[in-house]
Assembly symmetry: C2
Homo-oligomer: 144 residues x 2
DNA sequence: GTCCCTGCAAATCCTTTGCACTCCT
DNA sequence: AGGAGTGCAAAGGATTTGCAGGGAC
């Protein structure tokens, strides 16, 4: 078994992640940490993020946009992804244990947990679209 | 607007995907299609898979294992991922619209849909583990 | 004939890894 | 001192893309 040693870089990564409310990708974390440790390398950021995931101190998640996202909160919770701008935010929903219970009744394998991600259009994208539709319907010639 | 032209390769990809019950990655599809079109290229497979996703004829999904998976069924349904062997299977559960309804009540953004993935240990991995545990407890000296 | 689709290979993006060196304990 | 952690750069895997030729309409 490997003994864990203190590292200022790892602490900083953990702290930075805990302070944010979004779900940054590794290179956003990298940019963040570089302010405190200008010479830190992306490899170290990845190594520490994965280590923290293994320790269960942070969560890794994927929303299908090609890169992994990290989250300082470990309590199970749900996410909302905007179909337009791909922005990810937390859903104000507690853990839906009934879903697991329901699944257990229908499936003979073990069901231990689940993840749910909601999709829709966030407020700012919706406003933008409404403005555009309005412009388009106000006049036949709608090419700017 | 771009007009779509018929392509035997694309048809074959669609058919192959519809015939399977699993959730293959692009290179599994590639291997599959190569039996009918030995000279097809991986790039073409990717291009067509993405095109079919855009047309809404297949689904692309990600389970956090580093590569995208494709599914010929477009009706919303849920998946089960084995934590040990990473095998993906369908959950025998219809669409849980109540989840969207609940989410809409708690969140002021638009909620259009959701995806849920269940995690656990599949039957065959569970059996394997039970056997191992049995072996381990049967004797103090359990190093083979 | 036109324009989409293909095969091929190179390029790109994200992530992991090997190595020599540094820092914790 | 010993070994875990770091920075750097190179490797790795998955996916996309540019281009010249082939096929659908």
């Amino acid at each position: 078994m490997k003994t864990l040693k203190y590292s200022r870089q790892r602490e900083s990564i953990k702290k930075s992640l805990a302070a944010r409310r979004d779900h940054p990708t590794a290179d956003v974390v990298y940019a963040d940490i570089r302010e405190e440790f200008p010479s830190i390398s992306l490899g170290t950021v990845y190594r520490n993020l994965n280590l923290l995931v293994e320790l269960g101190e942070i969560q890794k998640m994927n929303f299908g946009d090609g890169s992994d996202h990290f989250d300082g909160r470990i309590l199970p919770h749900y996410h909302f992804v905007c179909k337009r701008c791909r922005q990810v935010s937390d859903m104000p929903l507690g853990p839906l244990d009934e879903i697991n219970a329901l699944a257990r009744r229908c499936y003979d394998g073990t069901v231990e947990s689940h993840t749910t991600t909601f999709y829709g259009i966030c407020d700012s994208c919706r406003e933008k679209e409404e403005r555009t539709e309005h412009d388009a319907s106000s006049d036949g010639k709608n090419i700017p």
